[in-house]
Amino acid sequence: MIERFDLDGKAIVVTGGGRGLGRGMAMALAEAGAQVLIASRTEEQLAGVTEEIRAAGGKADYFVFDATKSADVDALVQDCVLRYGQIDVMFANAGGGQGPDLEFWEFPDDGFQATMEQNLHSVFYAARAASAQMMKQGTPGVVVPTASGSALRGRLPFAYPTAKGGVLSLTRSMAMTLAAHNIRVNTIVPGYVSQRPPKDAQEQAVREQRGSFVPVKRLGEWWELGPLAIFLASEASSYITGAQFIIDGGGLAAGLGPVGFRPRHEV
């Protein structure tokens, strides 16, 4: 059973792997034995994470790319094949950006478009390139997009949750289509998770205050996505496809009142 979690020698791409949740996932995947190719726009961050993984005894390389350009994404997958001979798992994690801070009725075309490209198109490009290559290889594969808990509730600014809602829907359709080719697709749905350690005491205090609104009374930490990434990338999840893996400290199972609210009970 426990060997089902093993990723020894697996070739795994993590987009948006230079920081935050992507970095946390990449480090854990490498710890579980995978060869990890991390990719983002910012070479300095990628080089840092690659170095960190290697220093810990893991295998990592990086590729500078723009997740919103499909030619870049295709090149990323080809780079993975050149380096490791194939691709086994794609974490389509790159995303972010809310568009301009404007009211809904003033929101501009380009702001909406850019948010969709960063958060939805990027996942489509990554999943398409990876699945095409997996089918060419004739090997089983896994695709894991990162969505957001905000997609499951109403929230402003609206463009980002809208794009992430698209990711959830895309995941279900991809899972249905790709199952016949032994490719599983599951989404990671983070709630409020800190992207890095706090810079100072003030930031820590802000986090603690925000954490008090989460049922487990704290924010998630970037590294907590790691074990989930290992589970979804590995044979441990062999009969799971099309599912949403929410990691949110209990937030989305609640929401009908503030944390701490309890209907009055009889004494």
Binding site: M1, E3, F5, A180, I230, T241, G242, G250, A254
Partner: protein
């Protein structure tokens, strides 16, 4: 293999209620393989005990303890008292998996009062009693705890002839959410595993029914799940390191069955 940090349950104490059925047995074996001692509860003093004993032999061969008990899960008091004894015997408790599952297929008009009561008593009440008792034990120890409720995808969809069974599992689904919220402050995580059509469930289908054969093809993965595919998720959901921020969720192990329209 450097996985131990996230999925290592060495030294942990586990309780599996319904270890006599394939899902419970698989979870118990997986817990033990990850390093835990596992108390095994069979639900009835009959051949169920023999099935739990087979699990015990496997676990003892791995070098872990696996005492067997008979727990009448239809009685809250029995769940409480037996669990108390188990905690004493094991020397603590870190995780509880709850797997009782008694299927009922009947049109609603012929589902009797007794059928309904029995279906709730065997599919929902045990989960409620187990969460209530586990919460008590975890709080007594003042330590984090993990509760995994095994349920069915029928808890969130409808299929003809399953009104009582599907409603009982729907109740389990929302038990996961409500209990998770109530216990989150004490770092007691409550999550569910919703099973689809598993390979031990063939007796739920009528071999003469052509629609039953088609039902198998509704799964995206076009095959039934196996017991070994349930264990790893339970290990993930029971690991203190891996799931400190995961609670109130129901995760399908269904080969993509829920994707179908």
């Amino acid at each position: 293999m450097p996985l131990t940090r996230y999925f290592d349950l060495t030294g942990k104490k586990a309780l599996v209620i319904g270890a006599d059925n394939p899902a419970g047995g698989a979870i118990a074996r997986a817990y033990a393989e990850a390093g835990a001692d596992v108390a095994l509860c069979a639900l009835t003093p009959d051949e169920a005990v023999m099935r739990a004993r087979a699990v015990r032999r496997d676990i003892e061969a791995m070098g872990h303890r696996a005492p067997e008990y008979i727990m009448d899960v239809t009685l809250g008091k029995n769940v409480q008292v037996t669990t108390r004894q188990i905690v004493k015997d094991l020397g603590g408790l870190d995780m509880v998996a709850v797997a009782p599952d008694v299927f009922l297929a009947k049109p609603i008009e012929s589902t009797t009062d007794t059928d309904l009561a029995r279906t709730m008593q065997t599919n929902f009440n045990p989960h409620f009693f187990a969460v209530r008792t586990a919460a008590q034990e975890f709080r007594r120890q003042q330590k984090p705890g993990r509760i995994v409720l095994v349920t069915s995808v029928l808890g969130q969809r409808g299929v003809p002839n399953t009104t009582a069974y599907a409603a009982a599992h729907g109740a389990v689904h929302n038990l996961v959410r409500a209990a998770a919220e109530e216990l989150a402050g004490d770092q007691i995580m409550v999550n569910g595993i919703a099973l689809g059509w598993m390979d031990w469930m063939d007796d739920r289908l009528d071999p003469a029914d052509p629609e039953a054969q088609r039902a198998g093809r509704f799964m995206a993965m076009k095959r039934r799940g196996q017991p070994e595919e349930v264990g790893p998720l339970a290990v993930y959901l029971s690991s203190e390191v891996a799931t400190g921020y995961v609670t109130g969720q129901i995760f399908p192990v269904d080969g993509g069955l829920l994707l179908h329209l």
